[in-house]
Amino acid sequence: MPIKAIMFCKFDMYATSKVIEKLRELPEIKKLMSLTGDYDAIAEIEVENSEDLYDIFTKKLDQIEGIIDTNTHVVMKSWEK
């Protein structure tokens, strides 16, 4: 069963556009938006299982320079109208 996670990110202020470009290229990131407030961006990640979620963080996101901090939430259920 696919896992959906929401990642809030803080960037180095001089690297924002480069980080955004690198995040855009990741196929696991389905939605990406720049924000104002406590975080600089929100990314919606979709992966097949928790192992893949671990992989995207360790092998991809941790390699991107300019990401200062992330706060990730796993989505249990989504409701829309």
């Binding site: 955004i20 924000l35 259920k77 989504s78 409701w79 829309e80 109208k81």
Partner: protein
Amino acid sequence: MQNKLIYNIIIANILWGFIPVVISGLFDEVSVITIIFFRFFVCGLVFLSIALLLILVNNRNPLKEPIPLNIFKELFKKNREFYNQKFITYFIILGFFGIILQIIFYFLALKLTSIAFVLIGFIIANIVIAFYEHGRTEELSFFKLLYLTTLAFSIGIIIFVKAQESVNFSISGLLYMLLFSACITFFHTFVNRDGYSKKEIKIINKNQYYKLIRLFSKLSIMFLTGIGLMFAFIFILYLIPIQTELTIEIGRFFAEISNVSILFRSEMLFLNTLGTIAPYIIIFIACVYWNPYNLTYNQWSSILVVIEPTTALLFGVFLINEFFPLEFLIITLFLLTLSILLRYVHESSVKVNAFLLLDQNRGTMSRLPFKLLKFNGIKQIDVMVGSYDLLLTIKKNSIKDFYYLIEQLKNLKEVKSIKILHINKINKV
């Protein structure tokens, strides 16, 4: 173009723009009431059949969440967005005053005046709606003021042109045009006041198809109950011993009602198929599959609503030789096109896309999402594990409207804290 579904709204408005041109030729031979009866009764039945057929097809597909027929019981629940009246009452009122009476007055005004003159009714309605929305929630930005000024100027030009042509004018025509304008204002003001119930939200989240079925059902109920009320309305008017254009039309209607062959006249066939069924189908598809990160469907509808009267004027002048000197036609078309652009700039500049991060009080997880989804502007709710409990995706028409929503949410006893994150830019969807 941000969204291909915008074309659906444009095509539907162009098709509606053809209606006065096609139907004007029928007014001398067939009563306005007969045309309306055959249009809305037949199309109401068609839409009801489509809704039931879609339910049948859906429920036979084992891969899709079945839609129970008892969903129609929701019609008898209270609609808190419409003075706590039942949903069925809301649909009947909207169907009769917003659709049937609107079209009766529209056709009567068309018959007694001209397409260009009735265009004023559309524009007045747009101006009134803009001011009404400003009073409620919308910002009256610089571009909105320019938009309204442009519309007001186009009214001035049409009145100036039509004042030179004394043939197609009557006081009763003016009255019907104003009544049409009042009805269309009523319709646009109240048309979306029917939020989903908890049961419907559960169905939609398992089967998006339900939204389409709901739209067809809603429209068929409005058409058919509107026609039912129309009978009571015209019967009462018929008994009143005062002769007006409307009572003459009612008299003709009672004489013609058994003549089903009217339904097969080319004008009626156009009106029912290309003037009603086709535009509503493409509009509903746009509404259901709208991308939530662009301007909302309602915002685009309000931007493009001017296309209908504009094309009606254009077709009227070029296809049935309506009096409108070319230089004034060019200026009017320019102003109306400009009004579309100004409205777009206004809607784009005042819209608010944001996320809200909510912490909820313990024990409220099962009921809070449904409570939240009843608020206008909350498009999606993600229930999460982490520092925050809920992520709300918000789309609002103005910052004033957005902060009003925040105040409403703060008053909910289930909500512990709210954090606002405004969306600056959509980088990937």
